[in-house]
């Protein structure tokens, strides 16, 4: 093997100066020898192979398909990451490595939003000079129209519903049923001039800039809108536009000559062309990544077990891999409606006896994730490390303390309850089996109850009447943040007021103190202070012993060595930042 000269490239210094890089040699030949320092985790918290060499084709692949390429109709983190290549929302996550990527920066807007009326009204000013791919200038009306159409959940069922829930829509449902001749009848959004847009909400939310980051604020020209067919040719505002698009098979993006770098401080588009193949066999994707026939797995959740084994056992492959922590937490919830778990001491007994290592092993060991001690993953601002149930001291479960809690609960010999999981998920099954073994040590007899994942939340674990009747004491689940912020992660799973009859993401966390804290966070404008409140929510949930932490998930990402400017952006939950990657191949 050829010895690799470790280029003494001060990678960190490069980042400090933004993404403009020194080029690290820039020799033309031997794309396989990396110019940056190829090392395990070289793209975590720093930029791997920083370069300003443009050109080439960047090849993506997807083992499935997009929910939709239409910005109004997409809800995958990786899709929100990718959409920035062809669309510009009002705000975006900074294209920066690590935690810096969780910060919002203005994109189509000149600056972040200005709140008024106690955080119920938000105003943005658009940058001037931004154009669609056909040369028409972008106005605030195009943004308003884009948000209006995203409210139509019949035409666009996949997208998030935050605007539907928060905007003062006054019954407005869709621009396609709008009587206004310009289809701009929504009263909740005002456009006093072409550069200004004002949002009116029914309830205050101090983190509105996160809403403005959603792809549904990417402008759509009303004249070019074809409803559900718009996804076949999205009119680009970003640095790339669609060249071809065969739905379900593949599409290609080429440079958008109407995109002006002077209006866009956030993006540094490197390749001349981007190709994306859809519905590719997932093991095939991994093999092609390793052999250099493919550049990026767009789903960004990491390689599959087979490739993981190969990468971890081969040092030269491992040097091109990153173990990235995501905003996903695989956890279990205890059901306070099922006796004796209505007693906090019984719940604490389970918290102590819970096999934390077993949970981690079920999800692939240390490579699969970190042992969680709280609810909120560490990449989310406001995260605070605490360990209430001795995960550090006795990771396989603290039997003595558990037994003491059982005593206090009045069930010294243990009790019997059920644990539910999704039958199609071998990892969740492994969790159930591991905890069955662990809890048996304190006399708690767990019976496993697998349910089909398609209806897991609609008919089973997410339906309080069912969980109560069938005595599901523990429910295995997981959650990923829509965006790395306490609201985006915690609100849907801890606020007791979001629990409906069925289809719940909150599997039964009902704590008045938490609800009060959430209300407080919604109206706190100071970001730091707000993040602190989310940290308190986390701690309160854990103190009430309703949540059994599992793992803060990690993904093992692979970057072929000839790629440039690769880094993990925490804003997209442990994926590479797709807006900056270049190629030397």
């Amino acid at each position: 093997m050829r010895k690799r000269t470790v280029a003494a490239l001060a990678v960190t210094a490069v980042i400090a100066g933004g993404l403009a890089a020194c080029g690290g040699g820039g020799s033309e030949g031997e794309g396989s020898t990396s110019k940056g320092a190829a090392a395990f985790n070289a793209a975590i918290g720093k930029v791997y192979n920083a370069s300003d060499k443009t050109g080439g084709t960047l090849r993506f692949a997807n083992s499935g398909d997009w929910d939709s390429l239409d910005p109004a109709d997409t809800y995958y983190a990786w899709s929100w990451n990718f959409v920035r290549l062809y669309g510009r929302a009002l705000t975006m996550f900074a294209s920066a490595p690590g935690q810096a990527g969780t910060k919002l920066v203005p994109d189509l807007a000149e600056s972040l939003g200005t709140p008024s009326d106690g955080n119920k009204t938000w105003t943005y000013k658009l940058r001037s000079g931004v154009k669609f791919e056909d040369g028409t200038p972008v106005t605030s009306k195009d943004v308003k129209y884009a948000v209006e159409r995203s409210l139509d959940k019949t035409t666009f069922p996949n997208g998030p519903t935050y605007f539907n829930d928060f905007l003062d829509t006054q019954g407005y449902t869709s621009p396609y049923q709008d009587t206004d001749p310009n289809k701009l009848g929504l009263k909740a959004i005002e456009t006093p001039d072409d550069q200004t847009i004002v949002f009116h909400m029914t309830r205050p939310y101090a983190g509105f800039d996160y809403f403005a980051m959603q792809p549904s604020t990417i402008p759509v020209p009303q004249a070019k809108d074809t409803g559900s067919k718009y996804k076949e040719h999205v009119i680009a505002t970003g640095p790339y536009k669609f060249e071809t698009n065969e739905l379900g098979k593949q599409f290609t993006l080429v440079r958008n000559d109407q995109w002006d770098a002077s209006t866009d401080p956030n993006r540094k588009p490197m390749p001349d062309k981007i190709t994306v193949q859809l519905n590719v066999n997932s093991d095939d994707i991994d093999n092609r990544l390793l052999s250099g026939d493919l550049d990026v797995d767009v789903e960004g959740s990491g390689v599959r077990p087979a490739a993981q084994g190969r990468i971890l056992s081969d040092q030269s492959l491992k040097a091109n891999a990153d173990s990235a922590i995501t905003t996903r937490h695989w956890y279990s919830v205890m059901n306070v409606d099922v006796p004796p778990l209505d007693n906090i001491h019984c719940r604490k007994a389970i918290e102590y006896a819970w096999d934390k290592v077993g949970y981690q092993n079920a999800y692939g060991g240390p490579i699969g994730g970190e042992i969680a001690t709280g609810l909120m993953p560490p990449v989310i601002p406001g995260f605070e490390k605490f360990d209430l149930y001795d995960a550090a001291g006795s990771p396989s479960g603290n039997i003595e303390k558990a037994k003491a809690e059982l005593q206090e609960c009045g069930q010294p010999n243990g009790f019997a309850t059920n644990i539910s999981y999704r039958v199609e998920r071998p990892k969740e099954k492994a969790v159930a089996e591991a905890e069955q073994q662990a809890l048996a040590k304190i006399g708690v007899k767990l019976t496993v109850k697998p349910y089909p994942q398609g209806d897991y939340f609609k008919l089973y674990a997410g339906k309080p009447a069912f969980t109560k009747a069938n005595k599901l004491g523990i429910m295995v689940a997981g959650w990923a943040a829509d965006w790395p912020d306490g609201f985006g992660f915690l609100e849907q799973i801890t606020d007791s007021r979001v629990i409906h009859e069925a289809g719940n993401s909150n599997l039964g966390i009902k704590i008045p103190a938490v609800d009060a804290l959430i209300d407080k966070a919604l109206v706190t404008n100071d970001t730091q202070e707000r993040d602190k409140i989310w940290g308190e929510v986390d701690k309160t949930v854990m103190e009430n012993a309703v949540l059994l932490p599992g793992v803060w998930s990690k993904g093992l990402l692979y970057r072929p060595s000839y790629l440039t400017n690769v880094f993990v952006n925490d804003g997209f939950g442990g994926e590479y930042d797709y807006a900056t990657i270049g190629t030397t191949k």
Partner: protein, 330 residues
Amino acid sequence: MTAPLEAPGAASESQPEAVLRGAGVSIRGRSLGQIAWLRLKRDKVAIAGLVIVTILILIAILAPLIVKLLGHPPNEFHQNLIDPNLQTPKGSFGGISKDFLLGLEPVNGRDLFSRVVYGSRISLLIAFLATLLSMVLGTVMGVIAGYFGGWVDTVISRSMDVFLAFPLLLFAIALAGVVPDSAFGLSGNALRVAVLIFIIGFFNWPYIGRIIRGQALSLREREFVDAARSLGARAPYILFREMLPNLVAPILVYFTLLIPTNILFEAALTFLGVGVRPPTPTWGGMLSDATHYYQIDPEFMLVPGLAIFVTVLSFNLFGDGLRDALDPRA
């Protein structure tokens, strides 16, 4: 098929041997069973099958003892023996060692040997009882249809057609999916085993039913049946005392041949997740788990796979030999 015909000449050839061994050995007539056993003994392959089948049944019965001597409790975790990064057992060939004769499961490190041994219980129990159920149903229905003929035959034969045309696997999945946690005085795994036995047994009877019906059709025209009838015997007597003993051969043969089919069917059902609940070990369930690791830990898939393979093969070989021995014309 392969076994030589027991021609009259062959029997007479054996007589000099008897004479040579000494006087006093009289030449006795042999019963049908004895002849069949003689033929079977000569079929080495079938005997090998029988030996393995016997060993398997012994293993299933003595599972707790065997595991106590040679293995670890089937649900015990040994995560210290698992490579934390790769999630596969440390050591080569899936962690085979003198403590773990067949290696370990990935992720949680359960003893594969113990799980395969315990898995044989579920597989054999379900396959055996389900086969018994379909044999009983099939024989009764087949004999009745064949003997009575007419509209009885039509009704039974058409219902057999309906059963045969049933998308059994889909139906089994649906039925096993809606089974509650307790019913008919059973609960948990006992209930699920009972349901599996019922599904597999109940839907397989037409196969044997058709064969028995055919045999019964020809038997009822035979002289001894006519004789019994003319002596005034009633239908039940003729059915079960006159005809049934003549059907023992096909029943036995198809019993041994249906068992391996049912083992595979049970494995398929547990593979699809409708069988018994984890952590109870089953071969199909183990195979299903192993599919996620076959590229990095092929040993995990090999063990239950081989167990199923050996079992099915030995039952088939034995059944084939038994058929040749009992009914050389078939």
